[in-house]
Amino acid sequence: MSLTSLWRAATQHRLFWPVAALVALLVINVPFTPGFFEIHLKNGHLYGSLVSIVLFGSPLILVAIGMTLVIATGGIDLSVGAVVAISGALACLVVSKQADQDSVAGVLLAFALALAVALVCGAWNGLLVARLGIQPIIATLILMVAGRGIAQLITSGQIITVNSDAYSLIGGGYWLALPFSLFVVALVVVLSMALTRRTALGLLVEAVGGNAEASRLVGIRSRRIKIMAYMFCGLCAGIAGLMISSNVSAADGNNAGLWIELDAILAVVIGGTSLTGGRFHLGGTIIGALIIQTLTTTIYTIGVPTQTNLVFKAVVVIVVCLMQSSVFRAKVFGARAKRRGPAQKSPGAAADAAPQMEVSS
C-alpha cells in the first residue's frame, strides 16, 4: 500500500515524466557504448559522455532558462539565437583586436561589452512587446532575422578565430576538474531560482503571464516585469553566446546558435511550462534542455544514419511529449486512469504540451 502510494506520488510529480525520459535516453546508450556512464580523469579534468552532455548542453540550459521566464509572462523570444551570435561575435572581435589576447582584463572587457549588447537586445524586445504592444512572436522575429545580420556584419562574414586561454575558459575550459560552464550555469540557475521563488518576483511573473491587464489593475507594474523578463532572457542568451564561441575559440556569425530558439522552446515545453504563460518550472526546463542535449549525443554515439537524424529526434520528442500529456496517458492506459478518477486529470501544462510540439519539432 505504502509502496503503491509512493509510486503514485512519484508519477504525480510534475518532473516525473521528464526525468523518466532523460533516464531512459541515457540508458539507451549503454548497449551501444558500454562505458557510457564512466567518467575518467584526463589531463586533470573529468572526461566522459556525461561530462560532454553537460558541457555542450550548458548554452542550451541558459537560453532555456531565460526563455522560461519570457514564456511565463505569456510571451516568446525567437531572437535568442541571433543574440547568441551577436554576443559571441562581438566578444571574439574585441579579444582578437587586442595585442595580448590572453590578458584577463581584455577578456573581461569583451564579456562586459557583449553582455551589455545582449541586455540592450533584450530591452529592445521587451519595449516592443510591453510598451508598443506588438505580438511577442512578431516583435522578437525582427531581431531574430536582423540580429543574425548584425552578427555577420560584426564578423564581416568571416569566422573570427581567437587564441586566448582566458577566453576559452568559460565555454570550453575546466575548473576544479569540472567544466567551467557548469559553474556559470549553476550560478544563473541558483540566482534565478532564488529571485523567482524566494522573492515575490516569480509570483508577479506568473500573475502577468496569467492576465497582464488584471495584474496591472491590482497594482503590478506588468510592463516593467515583462521588460525585465526579456532583458533577463537576452542576458542568458548573451552568456550562452560567450560559451558557444569560447567552446570552439571562434565566432561564427552565421551558425552560432542557429535554431537554438526552437530547442530552447522545446526544452521549456518538455519541462512542463505552459506556452500560454502564467506558470513556469525552472527545474523542468533544465531537465528538458538535458533531454535535448542527451538526444543529440545519443544520435552521434549510437550511429543513427545521418539522413534519419531528424526523424529519430522527432519520434523521441513526440513520445516524450505524449507521455507527459495526462490526456494521452488516460486514453492509452485507460483502465488505470479511470481508477484514479477525474481529480488527477489534466494539470493544464502537460496537456498543452503535446499539440504545441508541432511548432517546435
Binding site: H45, Y47, R131, G303
Partner: protein
C-alpha cells in the same frame, strides 16, 4: 512619464531613420538596373549559399572582386543555407530581367521548376561550386566549380601517403558535411570508391554530419571518441569541422595528427595553421577563388557562345601535406 514619452519618440525616430535608409539604399540600385542594360553592361544575379565558413567568405569575395574587375554589374544575395531563400532570389532575378543568373545550390535536388522559369524567361544559368540533379540538362549552361568526388578520391590518396608504413587494419571516423549537400555526398563517395577498390583494411566505423561547422565537428567528434576508443583516422569533409574535432581529440587526452591522423578537405587559412602545427596531416584543396573563371564564363554565355563552353569548368586545385604547410601558409588567401 517623460522617460516613456521620450523613449517612444526616440524609437519612432530610429525606425523612421531605418526605413529612410532602406529606401535610400534601394533607389539607386533600381535606377542603375535599366541604365546598365542600356550601356551594355552585363548584369549578373548571383545567389550565394550563405556564409557558413571561411571558405565561403573567400568564395564570396572572389566573385565580388572578379565582377568588379570584369566590369560586370553584380546583384548579390545570401540564401543563409536555405533552398527556399535561394529559389526566391532566383525568381527575383528573373523578375528583374538580369542577363545571366548564377548560384551555388544549397542542395542537389528540387531546382527543376525555378530553372524552367529562368529558361522560359530566356536567362542563361551558370552553376558555381556545386552541381544539381535535373531531368533536363539544358536548364543550365555550365558548372564552374570543383569535382567533389575527385576531392574525395584525392583525400583517400593523401591518406595512403599519411599511412605509409602503417600495417594492419585502419579504423576511420568520418565527419560529413551538411546532409544532402553535394560536397558531402560526393566527397564520401569518392573516398569510399578508393577505399573499396584498393584498401580492404580500411573501415569507416563512424560517420555523422557536423554541418560543416566547428561546433558541429567538435560535438560529433566528442561523441565518436566516447563510443569508439580505437579511431585511427579522421576524414573530415572540411577544415572547420576538423578544427573543432581537434579540440575534442585533445580533450580526450589524445594528440591530433599523431594518435589520430587527420585528412581534411578545403585548405582554409585556419586549416593550414592547424596543419603547420602538425594537428592535421593532409589537406586536399578545394579552391574557392573561382570568381575570374565564373566571369569569363558569364561573358562567353552573354555573347551567345555558351555552347562552346564545357559542361564543367573545373577549378585549379592542389594537395598539401603537413611538411608543406608552413611554406604555403603565408600565401593562403582564404
Amino acid at each position: 512619464m517623460i522617460d516613456r514619452r521620450s523613449f517612444l519618440t526616440a524609437g519612432a525616430a530610429v525606425s523612421a531613420a531605418g526605413i529612410l535608409a532602406a529606401c535610400a539604399k534601394k533607389n539607386p540600385a533600381k535606377s542603375t538596373g535599366p541604365d546598365s542594360s542600356g550601356s551594355k553592361q552585363i548584369t549578373l544575379g548571383f545567389s550565394q549559399v550563405g556564409s557558413e565558413s571561411g571558405w565561403r567568405a573567400a568564395n564570396t569575395q572572389s566573385v565580388k572582386e572578379a565582377a568588379k574587375a570584369a566590369g560586370i554589374n553584380l546583384k548579390f544575395s545570401d540564401a543563409q543555407q536555405k533552398q527556399e531563400n535561394q529559389i526566391s532570389a532566383i525568381r527575383s532575378y528573373i523578375a528583374q530581367k538580369v542577363d545571366v543568373i548564377s548560384f551555388s545550390p544549397v542542395v542537389v535536388t528540387g531546382w527543376d521548376t525555378v530553372l524552367k522559369e529562368a529558361k522560359a524567361a530566356g536567362i542563361p544559368v551558370i552553376l558555381t561550386d556545386r552541381s544539381v540533379e535535373t531531368s533536363d540538362p539544358s536548364l543550365y549552361v555550365t558548372l564552374v566549380g570543383s569535382d567533389f568526388e575527385i576531392e574525395g578520391e584525392r583525400a583517400a590518396h593523401m591518406l595512403e601517403k599519411v599511412l605509409a608504413g602503417h600495417k594492419g587494419p585502419v579504423k576511420i571516423a568520418q565527419l560529413e558535411g551538411t546532409t544532402g549537400a553535394a560536397p558531402a555526398i560526393e566527397r564520401a563517395k569518392g573516398f569510399g570508391k578508393i577505399m573499396h577498390a584498393s584498401h580492404p583494411e580500411w573501415t569507416i566505423i563512424a560517420s555523422q554530419t557536423g554541418d560543416f561547422t566547428r561546433a558541429g565537428g567538435k560535438q560529433v567528434m566528442a561523441a565518436f571518441l566516447q563510443a569508439h576508443s580505437d579511431i585511427d583516422v579522421l576524414f573530415s569533409h572540411n577544415d572547420d569541422m576538423a578544427i573543432g574535432a581537434i579540440q575534442s581529440i585533445q580533450a580526450a587526452g589524445k594528440t591530433p595528427g599523431t594518435d589520430i591522423k587527420i585528412v581534411s578537405v578545403d585548405g582554409v587559412h585556419d586549416g593550414f595553421v592547424a596543419m603547420s602545427k602538425g594537428q592535421i596531416n593532409a589537406i586536399v584543396e578545394c579552391n574557392p577563388l573561382l570568381g575570374p573563371q565564373l566571369m569569363d564564363a558569364v561573358k562567353t554565355v552573354h555573347a551567345g557562345k555558351g555552347s562552346t563552353l564545357p559542361r564543367w569548368i573545373k577549378t585549379k586545385e592542389g594537395d598539401y601535406t603537413a611538411d608543406q604547410a608552413a611554406a604555403a601558409l603565408p600565401s593562403r588567401k582564404y
